[in-house]
C-alpha cells in the first residue's frame, strides 16, 4: 500500500487548484440562525491529497459541498483553479465541475436507470465528447468491472457500485476529486482495494484529492490531514503524523 501521495511541488508552482478564504455557512435567520462553518481558510495544490476528519456535525460534508460549488456560502470565497465559484451562475459552476472536478460519494450516487458503462460515460457526454466508449470500458476494466459493463446499479454490490463511481470520477481526468466518506458504506475487506484504486488513480492522473472521512487509516494515506470541530479547523498536520 502506498504511503501519502506527494507531488505537490508542481502544483505549488502552478498555483493552488483549490483556495478557500474566510468561508462561512449559516442556516436560518435571527434567533434561529445556526452557523455550521466559520472562517475556514484552506489551500490545496495540484496533485496534493488532503483528508478532512472530525466528528459528525463538525461541518466536513458542508465544507466539501461548498468547495465543489454544490452549495452557496454565506460569506467567504472558494477558488477552483483560480475561478471564484461564488461569482458564477449555477450553470457556469456545473460547467466548471464538469471540467475540473470529480466526485465519489458515500452512497455512490450512480444514476439507477443507466448501466455501469453509461454512468461512466456521463461526464464525457456532458462535455460533448462522443466516441470515448473504449476509454470508459478501459477504466472500468482498470477497476475490475470489465464483465459488468451492461449492469444496472441495483444489479451491482456496494463495492462494485463504488468502483463504477471511481471510474466515473476519473474518466474525464479532473484536476481535483472530492470524496465524501468513499468507504463509509463498505466493509474493510471491500474498502481496501477501493482506497488503493483511489490513490493510484490520483497519482496517475495528477488529481488533487479531498477526502472527507471518519476512518483514521484512510486519512493517514493523505499528505495533509485537517481536523474539524464545531465548524472550524482545529488542527492541520502533514504526512500522516496524526
Amino acid at each position: 500500500m502506498s504511503s501519502a501521495s506527494s507531488n505537490p511541488e508542481i502544483g505549488r508552482k502552478q498555483g493552488p487548484v483549490l483556495e478557500v478564504r474566510g468561508l462561512r455557512k449559516t442556516y436560518g435567520s435571527g434567533d434561529r440562525e445556526l452557523t455550521v462553518l466559520k472562517e475556514i481558510d484552506l489551500q490545496l495544490a495540484a496533485g496534493d491529497t488532503c483528508a478532512i476528519i472530525g466528528p459528525s456535525g463538525s461541518g466536513k460534508t458542508t465544507l466539501l459541498g461548498l468547495c465543489a460549488g454544490l452549495d452557496d456560502a454565506s460569506a467567504g470565497s472558494v477558488l477552483l483553479d483560480g475561478q471564484a465559484v461564488e461569482a458564477l451562475s449555477q450553470d457556469a459552476r456545473a460547467a466548471l465541475r464538469n471540467r475540473l472536478v470529480g466526485f465519489v460519494f458515500q452512497n455512490f450516487q450512480l444514476i439507477p436507470t443507466l448501466t455501469a458503462l453509461e454512468n461512466v460515460l456521463v461526464p464525457l457526454e456532458l462535455r460533448g465528447e462522443t466516441g470515448r466508449r473504449k476509454d470508459a470500458e478501459a477504466i472500468l476494466g482498470d477497476v475490475g468491472l470489465s464483465k459488468r459493463l451492461g449492469h444496472y446499479p441495483l444489479q451491482l454490490s456496494g463495492g462494485e457500485q463504488q468502483r463504477v463511481a471511481l471510474a466515473r470520477a476519473f474518466i474525464h481526468r479532473p484536476k481535483i476529486l472530492f470524496a465524501d466518506e468513499p468507504t463509509g458504506n463498505l466493509d474493510a475487506e471491500t474498502s481496501a482495494p477501493i482506497v488503493d484504486m483511489l490513490f493510484r488513480l490520483n497519482r496517475e492522473a495528477g488529481t488533487a484529492l479531498v477526502l472527507v472521512t471518519h476512518d483514521p487509516g484512510l486519512a493517514a494515506k493523505a499528505r495533509r490531514v485537517i481536523k474539524m470541530g464545531a465548524g472550524t479547523i482545529i488542527s492541520e498536520e502533514e504526512n500522516g503524523a496524526l
Binding site: A84, A94, E125
Partner: protein, 856 residues
C-alpha cells in the same frame, strides 16, 4: 473571467438544450425504470383528452343537429315573406341563388263543413314545390302531403276533425271551391313565424287557390318564397346582400339562425353549459397531468442532483423531463383522441333513436384536431409548473439524502400561471362568444384555486397548533402528517379540492339546467289560446273551460296600439333617419295591463310600477328588453302611444327579460291598470288540453255560447319544442357524465404524489415495530382528514359557483340539489380514504428491506 471557456459542450440555451441529441438520449435512458409510472401519467392525459375530445365532438355534433333542427323549423335556408305578392321577376332573381325553391300564399278565411253545418276561421296555406327542404311533414294517411300537389283536396289539423265531427274523405267548402279532405297533418309544415295564424291550419296545393276565388277578395294574404341554397352558402351573408339589393321591397328575410334564436333560452343555456363543461374538462385533465408530472419529478430529484453535480446545465436537465412529458403527452393525447372519438360515436349511436335531432354519427375531425392540440398544449402548460422546479434542484442534494422538489416560488411561477390563465381564456372564448363570461369563468377558477390554497395553508397551520402530546399516538401521527416537511396537504387540497369543485359545479349546473328544461315545466305551459274574449264574456268563457275539466291558466286583457313618437320625435321622422326598424314603427302592439310580474319575467332595470305617479304624470310602461333595444330606449325615456286614436304619453319605468320559450302570455309592453282599464280591448284566456279530443270538445262548446271567440291550438308546436328540450336534457346528462372521466387523472396524480414518501415512512415504522394495523390507521387518519377537507371546500366552492351561474347566467334557482352534494361528499371522502387503505395494504405487502435498499 471568460465564462464561455468554461461552457460544457451541452448548450445552456433552452431551445438548443431541448434539441440536443444527448437530452433526448438521456430522456429515453431515464425512463427505463419509470415506464410503468410514466404510463400512468400518459393515461392521465388519455383520460383528460378523451373527455375533452368527446365533449367538444359531441358539442359539434349536437350543434350540427341543432342547426339542422333549426333548418327544419324554417324548412329552408332562407325565407322571404311579404304582405305583397312577390313579383315573378323578383322570384326569378331569387331563384338564381337557390338550387330549389317553393312558394306559398297564406290567408285567413272561413271554412264550411257541409256535413255538420259548421264553420270555422282557418289559416289557409297554399304551397307549391317540394317544401319543406329540411324536416318532414307527417300526415295520416302517409303520403297525403305529396298528394295535395297533384290532387284537388285539403289537409286539416286533427282538432278540426274532432271539433266538426268530420273524417278523411268528407268534403269541406273553402271560398267557392268544394274540396275533399285528403288527410290530417300530425307534424305540420314549418310556419312562417311562431304564431303565424290565429286559427287552425288548412293546406292545399298553390295551384288550387285560384279555384277558391279567395285571392280576389282577400287583402290580408302573406306571400312566402322558400329557398334551398347550394351547400356551403352563407345564408346570413346572402340575407344581408338581398336586403341591400332589394332595399325597396317590403320583404322580411329569415334564416335558420334567426329561427334558432327564436328557440328561446333553452339553446342559449345549452351552449353556455357546454362552454363551462369543456373548460372544466380541460382544467380537470390539466390538474391531473400537473400532479402526475410533479410525482414523477419528485422521484427523479436525486438523479437530477447527480446530473447537476456532474456538470449538466439546468436547461438540459429541464429539457430531459420536458421531452419525457411532451412525448408521453403526445402519445397520451393521440390515444385520448382515439378514445374520445370512440366515446362520441358510441354515445351518438346509443342515443340515436331517442334524440329528436338528426345528428351525424361520424367523427368531427376538425374538432378532434383542434381539441387534441388544445388539450396537449394545456396539459404541457400545466406540466411546466412542476417541471420548472427542476432548475431549482441543488446539486448539494447528492450529499444529503431525502431531497425532494422545493416548494412553490410564487414570484417566479407567476408568469407561468398568467400564461396558463391566458391560454384558458383563449380556449374558452370559442366556447362562449361572450368574452367577459369566458374571462369570468377563468377568474372564478383562479379564485377557487386561491381559496383552496388558503384552506390548505390554514389546515397546515392548524394541525401544527392543535396536536397535543396527550393525544393517542396514532391520531397524533396521522394529523401531524398534515404539517410535517414535504407534507402533501397543499397538493392534495389543490388537486382533489379543485377536482371536486369542478365536477360538482358541472353536476349542479347540469341539474339546474335540466330542471329548467324539464318537460314537466313545459307541460304546465298553455297549449290552447282563446282570443277575442270580450271583457263581459271573460267570466263565461272561464266557466266553459272549467266545465270541460280544463284549467284556466291565464287570463289577460289586451289592448292594441301603435307607437306615435319616441322622446318627442315622431316615428315617421325616426324611420327616415333609420333610427328604428321599419317593422317596429309600423307594428300594431298588443299590450296588457297588470300589477305583477309573471313567472317568466325578470326585472332587469328600473322599477316595477303598479300605478301612475300622479294624474298629470306620464303613464308608466314596462318594456321587454329586446324591444327596448330595437327602439333604442332606456328607463326614463318617453314614448307616445297611439291607443286607437287616443295619444297617451308614457315613460319607460322598467325593462323586463322575458323567457318566451314557455309559451305563457307575454307582452312587449305592460301598463298599469289605471292607464288602460277603460281602453277598448279584449281578453286572452289560456288553458291546457291533454289531447286533440279535449281541445275539440272545448272549441265546440265555445262556438255555441261565444261564436266570436277564436281558439288557437298550439299542441303540435309545443310537442315539437318538448322533443327538442327533452333531447337537449339527455345530451346534458351524457356530457356531465363524460367530465367524470377527466377526474381519473386527478385521482391518479394526487395519490402518486403522496405515495412514495408515505410508503418510505410507513416501512420505517414497520421496521421499528409498528403493526400493519397501526400503519393503516395512521394513513387512514391522514387521508380521511385530507379527503374531508377537500370535499367540504370543493363543495362549498361549487355551491357558490352554482349560485352565481344560476342567477347570473342561467336565470334559475340558485339552490343546489342536496343529494348531489351528499353523494359528492361521500364519494370524495370515500375515495380519499380508499386511497389511504390501498396505500396501507401496499406498505404491508412491500418488503422493508426492498424499500430501504432502493432508497425510494
Amino acid at each position: 473571467m471568460a465564462h464561455s471557456e468554461m461552457n460544457s459542450a451541452l448548450p445552456r440555451n433552452p431551445i438548443a438544450a431541448l434539441l440536443h441529441p444527448w437530452t433526448w438520449r438521456m430522456a429515453w435512458r431515464d425512463s427505463r425504470s419509470q415506464r410503468a409510472r410514466l404510463v400512468i401519467f400518459s393515461l392521465a392525459i388519455v383520460a383528460g383528452v378523451a373527455a375533452l375530445v368527446s365533449i367538444h365532438s359531441l358539442k359539434e355534433s349536437v350543434q350540427q343537429g341543432i342547426n339542422t333542427q333549426a333548418k327544419s323549423l324554417l324548412g329552408s335556408d332562407l325565407m322571404v315573406s311579404s304582405r305583397e305578392p312577390i313579383r315573378d321577376e323578383d322570384a326569378a332573381k331569387l331563384n338564381r341563388y337557390a338550387t330549389r325553391s317553393s312558394r306559398e300564399t297564406s290567408l285567413s278565411s272561413m271554412m264550411f263543413f257541409p256535413s255538420t253545418n259548421g264553420a270555422r276561421l282557418v289559416q289557409v296555406r297554399a304551397i307549391d314545390g317540394a317544401f319543406p327542404f329540411y324536416g318532414k311533414v307527417k300526415t295520416e294517411p302517409a303520403g297525403a302531403w305529396q298528394k295535395i300537389q297533384q290532387e284537388k283536396g285539403v289537409l286539416l289539423e286533427p282538432a278540426l276533425l274532432d271539433q266538426f265531427r268530420v273524417k278523411v274523405g268528407d268534403t269541406v267548402k273553402l271560398g267557392s271551391a268544394e274540396l275533399p279532405i285528403l288527410g290530417v297533418v300530425t307534424d305540420p309544415a314549418p310556419q312562417s313565424s311562431r304564431f303565424s295564424g290565429f286559427a287552425p291550419e288548412v293546406y292545399l296545393g298553390r295551384n288550387q287557390l285560384e279555384a277558391t276565388g279567395l285571392m280576389g277578395v282577400a287583402s290580408m294574404s302573406t306571400h312566402l318564397m322558400q329557398l334551398k341554397l347550394p351547400a356551403g352558402t352563407d345564408a346570413v351573408a346572402l340575407k344581408k346582400k338581398l336586403q341591400e339589393d332589394f332595399a325597396d321591397a317590403p320583404w322580411r328575410l329569415e334564416t335558420p339562425e334567426d329561427r334558432q334564436q327564436n328557440l328561446g333560452d333553452a339553446l342559449d343555456n345549452f351552449q353556455r353549459f357546454l362552454a363551462i363543461i369543456a373548460l372544466a374538462a380541460l382544467v380537470l385533465g390539466a390538474i391531473g397531468v400537473a400532479g402526475a408530472v410533479h410525482a414523477h419529478i419528485n422521484k427523479r430529484v436525486p438523479v437530477i442532483a447527480i446530473l447537476r453535480c456532474l456538470g449538466c446545465p439546468g436547461n438540459v436537465a429541464f429539457g430531459i423531463y420536458l421531452i419525457q412529458a411532451a412525448v408521453l403527452g403526445l402519445i397520451g393525447a393521440l390515444l385520448g383522441a382515439a378514445v374520445g372519438i370512440g366515446l362520441q360515436v358510441s354515445v351518438l349511436t346509443f342515443f340515436a333513436g331517442d334524440l329528436p335531432f338528426e345528428i351525424p354519427i361520424a367523427p368531427q375531425w376538425g374538432v378532434v384536431l383542434q381539441t387534441t392540440a388544445a388539450g396537449f398544449g394545456v396539459c404541457c402548460g400545466f406540466a411546466l409548473i412542476p417541471l420548472l422546479k427542476i432548475r431549482r434542484i441543488s446539486p448539494a442534494a447528492t450529499l444529503r439524502g431525502g431531497a425532494m422538489l422545493a416548494g412553490r416560488n410564487w414570484l417566479a411561477a407567476t408568469p407561468v400561471y398568467l400564461l396558463l390563465a391566458g391560454l384558458l381564456v383563449l380556449l374558452s372564448i370559442p366556447g362562449d362568444s361572450n368574452w367577459k363570461r369566458a374571462l369570468a369563468m377563468v377568474a372564478g377558477l383562479a379564485g377557487a384555486f386561491l381559496v383552496l390554497l388558503l384552506v390548505a395553508k390554514c389546515l397546515t397551520w392548524l394541525s401544527r397548533k392543535l396536536v397535543r402530546p396527550s393525544w393517542p399516538y396514532l391520531l397524533r401521527q396521522g394529523i401531524s402528517n398534515l404539517h410535517r416537511p414535504h407534507n402533501q396537504t397543499v397538493l392534495f387540497l389543490l388537486s382533489l379540492g379543485l377536482g371536486t369543485f369542478l365536477l360538482v359545479t358541472i353536476l349542479l349546473t347540469g341539474n339546474l339546467l335540466k330542471g329548467k328544461l324539464s318537460v314537466s315545466q313545459l307541460a304546465e305551459s298553455p297549449n290552447l289560446y282563446l282570443i277575442d274574449v270580450q271583457p263581459d264574456q271573460e267570466p263565461g268563457v272561464r266557466e266553459v273551460v272549467k266545465n270541460q275539466g280544463l284549467p284556466v291558466l291565464e287570463s289577460a286583457p289586451m289592448v292594441t296600439m301603435r307607437i306615435a313618437s319616441i322622446r318627442g320625435i315622431p316615428v315617421q321622422d325616426l324611420l327616415k333617419e333609420k333610427k328604428v326598424p321599419r317593422w317596429l314603427a309600423r307594428r300594431e302592439f298588443r299590450s296588457t295591463f297588470r300589477t305583477e310580474l309573471n313567472s317568466t319575467e325578470t326585472l332587469m332595470d328600473g322599477e316595477w310600477k303598479t300605478q301612475r305617479d300622479g294624474a298629470d304624470a306620464p303613464a308608466p310602461v314596462s318594456l321587454e328588453e329586446g324591444i327596448a333595444k330595437d327602439l333604442g330606449v332606456k328607463v326614463g325615456d318617453s314614448i307616445t302611444m297611439d291607443v286607437q286614436g287616443v295619444p297617451i304619453e308614457t315613460q319607460v319605468t322598467s325593462i323586463r327579460q322575458v323567457d318566451w320559450s314557455k309559451f305563457n302570455l307575454n307582452f312587449f309592453m305592460v301598463f298599469t291598470p289605471d292607464v288602460l282599464a277603460d281602453a277598448p280591448g279584449f281578453h286572452v284566456v289560456t288553458t291546457k288540453a291533454p289531447d286533440a279530443a279535449a281541445s275539440g270538445n272545448l272549441q265546440r262548446e265555445l262556438v255555441r255560447g261565444f261564436p266570436n271567440v277564436t281558439a288557437i291550438d298550439l299542441a303540435v308546436v309545443l310537442e315539437t319544442i318538448r322533443k327538442i328540450v327533452d333531447g337537449i336534457s339527455q345530451v346534458i346528462s351524457v356530457l356531465a357524465g363524460f367530465t367524470l372521466l377527466a377526474a381519473i387523472p386527478i385521482l391518479t396524480g394526487t395519490f402518486l404524489n403522496g405515495r412514495d414518501l408515505r410508503v418510505r415512512e410507513s416501512v420505517l415504522l414497520r421496521t421499528l415495530g409498528a403493526s400493519a394495523r397501526q400503519v393503516r390507521i395512521i394513513l387512514l387518519i391522514e387521508y380521511a382528514a385530507l379527503g374531508f377537507l377537500s370535499a367540504v371546500t370543493g363543495l362549498a366552492l361549487a355551491v357558490g359557483a352554482n349560485a352565481v351561474l344560476a342567477t347570473r347566467v342561467f336565470k334559475a334557482s340558485p339552490w343546489p340539489d342536496f343529494w348531489i352534494l351528499a353523494a359528492a361528499f361521500a364519494v370524495t371522502t370515500g375515495l380519499s380514504i380508499l386511497g389511504g387503505i390501498l396505500l396501507g395494504r401496499g406498505v404491508n405487502k412491500t418488503s422493508p428491506l426492498e424499500i430501504l435498499r432502493s432508497g425510494v
